[in-house]
């Protein structure tokens, strides 16, 4: 397979504390502001300084969602970065590195690599630039290599630091120093078949966690309580800063148990409440999840997966927690589990989740992962136009006893949903209970009542199934008529779509079902899909093909072909393409 040259790929790598990821994001920003499609893939270890961080920025005039195993250039801030990344440089590609401190020669000996040593430290000193501008300096040089207009970077700098003139000046200077140095000392260049257009409509560049945070803001969350845990923390970090402008209450309590129970308390009082965590924290929330279910208190929990078991790999991605969230907590109760696959869906389904939690008074788990949560993508969608109306279901702020009778928190209704009132509402005493209870909310062990209440709660499930079908519980991508099929969920969406494009270039037609609702499970849709295929391939970022298990449980269909990756890293396009090629019959 020959690499499709309609994108560029650049890795920036070095120790934590050097602004590596930030540098990658700057570059992505420069490209996205100029109308290119960008994806920034990143890996970083669980430490604060040192180690090896890298970001791979892929950019193209066409949509691109995933990274590539080889790149046009590596920018290396230390020797380890060279060691780890040098082999990814395409023949003829460029290695830029900090020549003040590193010798690259041993690594590129006999390799077809253009070398661009830059004495970063010296340049910074000479130009009175602080260390933190080193990444921007390297990007100035990069734009020169690409023969892209340096103004792309200037524009990004102005945008990013808007209002802080000194910082803008400093960074523009750094960018220019880098560009000039490259121009002077290097004949090398990177040839790409496209050029960005500085006047193009800027694209939105956003991560899944940012999209979820915006979804929470747009979706009217008023109470957010979370204990930090990678890779869910960025939502907390984002919202904690936005709380003042949005009148949102954002709390970091003593632990995850408190986080979810505060949110449940707030929701009971009438707030729109949300929390987020990763697997370890979700484990601790398990008991309270059942309380929310039993007391029919709406709650949205974002679960950002990382590689387990246990603490596992704190900063690496995985899709290992699907079954866990589907079945967490004792007893039986309906829940929504929704898995967005990209930033658009992250934004959209956060709002959906908030509505569904309140309409059905059930827990809603939004399951994402480190890759979707912390990596960035451009999108053509304007989120501010993708807002959906807030639906709070049967929630009232007054209660007319004459008209409606005595208020009963758990009134048995045809659809299983009982009216809620804002706590403090005149004439409505709200008795909620995590024990089994009467319609009024008094604890009861009466066996008939137990059945009635279980039936009431489960009656919702039928309505939840119908409701789910309003929101694309599955999406089919690719060639509708194809008989070679992939199935997957969550953040692998992007790479699967990209790999299918590569297959298409080979003349192999495929289609791909992305499952978004995991509970209720869209059994009919999935069944129809798998039965329309000659071959179905399950693709997951885990070891045990959990979706395939679900498919069999709900449709009886056994998916024989399975592609799994479970080293904490996301598939790259080419790798997945090759894995698919090996499997496709």
């Amino acid at each position: 397979m020959v690499r499709n040259r309609n994108f560029g790929a650049i890795i920036i790598g070095g120790p934590a504390g050097y602004g590596i990821i930030r540098g990658g994001w700057f570059l992505g920003k420069a490209f996205s502001l100029s109308g290119l499609y960008v994806h920034i893939y990143r890996e970083y270890p669980s430490l604060i300084q040192g180690g090896h961080n890298f970001a791979e920025v892929v950019f193209s005039p066409e949509p691109i969602h995933s990274h590539w195993p080889t790149v046009d250039m590596v920018i290396a801030f230390d020797e380890r970065a060279i060691k780890r990344q040098v082999d990814k440089i395409e023949p003829g590609g460029v290695l830029m590195y900090d020549s003040t401190r590193i010798k690259a020669e041993p690594y590129i000996r006999n390799k077809d690599v253009q070398e661009l040593p830059i004495p970063f430290t010296k340049l910074l000193r000479e130009n009175e630039l602080p260390k933190i501008t080193m990444n921007v300096l390297s990007l100035g040089a990069t734009l020169y290599l690409l023969r892209f207009d340096i103004e792309l970077l200037h524009k990004a700098i102005r945008k990013i630091f808007a209002g802080r003139e000194k910082i803008i000046e400093m960074n523009i200077k750094a960018a220019n120093v880098g560009m000039q140095y490259a121009e002077e000392y290097c004949g090398c260049r990177i040839d790409l078949p496209f050029k960005p257009n500085i006047n193009a409509e800027p694209k939105t560049l956003i991560s899944g966690n940012e999209a979820i945070s915006l979804g929470a803001i747009a979706g009217g969350v008023t109470f957010y309580s979370a204990y930090p845990m990678t890779p869910a923390s960025p939502i907390l970090h984002y919202l904690v800063n936005k709380q003042y402008d949005t009148d949102m209450i954002v709390i970091q309590p003593e632990n995850e148990i408190a986080a979810i129970l505060q949110a449940i308390g707030a929701s009971y009082a009438g707030a729109r409440a949300m929390t987020a965590t990763s697997g370890g924290g979700f484990s601790l929330m398990t008991e309270a999840l059942g309380l929310a279910a039993m007391s029919e208190t709406p709650i949205v929990i974002v679960l950002a997966q990382r590689q387990g078991p246990s603490t596992g790999l704190a900063t690496h991605t995985s899709q290992g927690d699907l079954r866990f969230v589907l079945h967490a907590s004792q007893g039986e109760f309906p829940r929504f589990v929704i898995a967005p696959g990209d930033v658009n869906e992250a934004f959209f389904y956060t709002q959906v989740a908030l509505n569904l939690a309140e309409k059905y008074q059930v827990p809603v788990i939004l399951i994402e992962d480190k890759h979707l949560g912390e990596d960035w993508w451009t999108t053509d969608e304007d989120f501010s136009r993708n807002m959906i109306p807030i639906e709070r279901g049967k929630l009232y702020d007054s209660w007319d006893v004459k008209a409606n009778g005595k208020y009963k928190r758990f009134k048995i209704t045809e659809d299983g949903v009982s009216p809620r009132v804002i706590l403090g509402t005149k004439n409505a005493i709200v008795k909620a209970d995590g024990n089994e209870h009467t319609e009024e909310g008094y604890t009861s062990e009466n066996p008939d009542l137990v059945v009635a209440m279980n039936d009431k709660r489960w009656r919702k499930f039928e309505y939840m199934k119908r409701e789910m079908r309003k929101y694309n519980p599955v999406k089919i991508h690719g060639d509708e008529d194809a008989r070679i099929c992939a199935i997957g969920w969550g953040s692998t969406k992007g790479v699967i779509i990209d790999a299918m494009k590569l297959l298409n270039d080979d003349g192999i037609k495929t289609k791909f079902m992305q499952v978004i609702f995991m509970s209720p499970f869209p059994d009919k849709e999935v069944s129809d899909f798998v039965n329309s295929c000659d071959q179905v391939i399950d693709i997951e970022n885990n070891k045990t093909s959990q979706l395939a298990g679900l498919v069999r449980e709900h449709t009886g269909y056994y998916i024989e072909h399975r592609i799994n990756k479970y080293n904490g890293r996301m598939f790259n396009q080419l790798e997945l393409y090759e894995m698919l090629k090996r499997v496709i019959k």
Partner: protein, 291 residues
């Protein structure tokens, strides 16, 4: 406002506490306190919320006709916190057991005190996991035989008041289930206190604890209010809480005013109504930060 009568707070639920249980006294005190507070502060009964744990104490949820949430074992405080922060105009009163509060849920006590969350926390301290048939708790005396200490509890009990003080609680008190009037007064003071208010209530369990009977306490108890004790000094308080022998003080050990958690957060101080859930325009954010 309609005339308030304590009968209003009755419920149809069957009371399943043992005859003679100290919980009855606490229930009566709570009802009285709420009725009196409602009229003194001129607020609706609907503005009171009770949060209860799991245990005999937790059944109080069923026996009082105010808003209430019977949660899970040990988690009264985070739920109470969420309610209060979501709607600061509510008066939130938590009821926990000693197992609930000092065993499984002790972390929340420390942090609610630290944060000075303005809720009231009433612990039904009967020295046993009673509903689960009488196991040892953190407040069981050394030497007491319980279901899980068949040869006598080898451990020293914790001192809940000491712990609350050390955690920064701004209102620390002890009540006695056998003195309803005093307890009702304490609850009122606690609810009126602007900050985290904590009352450990000595509650006889007539089934599992043969030591701490009504008589036992009555022979030992005296009221701090009847002495010249000054409850505003931390170091006096930290000494006073050690008095637990022939003489057992009840009343307010410590009470100071400090900024509450609500005072600390501008958006809470503005008392944003919880019902104010509306979509927020994000186009500005998108344009500034993401495009």
């Amino acid at each position: 406002m309609t005339q308030l009568d304590i009968k209003m707070l009755d419920t149809p639920a069957e009371n399943t506490w043992c005859p003679g249980c100290g919980n009855f006294g606490i229930l009566t005190a709570l009802k009285r306190a709420i009725i009196e507070l409602a009229s003194e502060l001129n607020i609706d009964i609907e503005k009171f919320v009770v949060v209860t744990g799991i245990g005999c104490h937790g059944k109080i949820h069923g026996y009082i006709n105010v808003n209430s949430f019977h949660v899970i074992h040990g988690r009264v405080l985070p739920v109470a916190t969420g309610i209060k922060l979501a709607n600061p105009e509510l008066k939130v009163i938590g009821h926990a057991g000693d197992g609930d509060a000092y065993a499984i849920g002790v972390a929340h006590l420390i942090h609610a005190a630290k944060k000075n969350i303005p809720v009231t926390y009433i612990v039904h301290n009967n020295h046993r996991f009673s509903l689960t048939t009488g196991q040892v708790t953190p407040t069981t005396e050394k030497g007491e035989k319980t279901r899980t200490t068949p040869r006598g509890n080898p451990e020293e009990p914790i001192n809940p008041l000491r712990l609350a003080l050390a955690s920064g609680a701004t209102f620390v008190a002890r009540g006695f289930a056998g003195d309803v009037q005093h307890l009702a007064w304490l609850i009122k003071e606690a609810v009126k206190h602007n900050g985290f208010s904590f009352i450990d209530v000595l509650q006889p369990c007539v089934v599992w604890d043969a030591l701490h009977t009504y008589k036992f306490w009555r022979e030992r108890i005296y009221k701090l209010e009847d002495t010249d004790y000054d409850p505003t000094d931390y170091f006096s308080a930290i000494r006073k809480v050690e008095e637990m022998g022939d003489k057992v003080p009840i009343g307010i050990f410590y009470k100071v005013n400090k900024p509450t958690f609500i005072d600390m957060y501008p958006q809470l101080k503005r008392m944003v109504p919880v019902r104010d859930v509306k979509p927020r325009d994000i186009s500005d954010i998108i344009n500034k930060e993401f495009r």
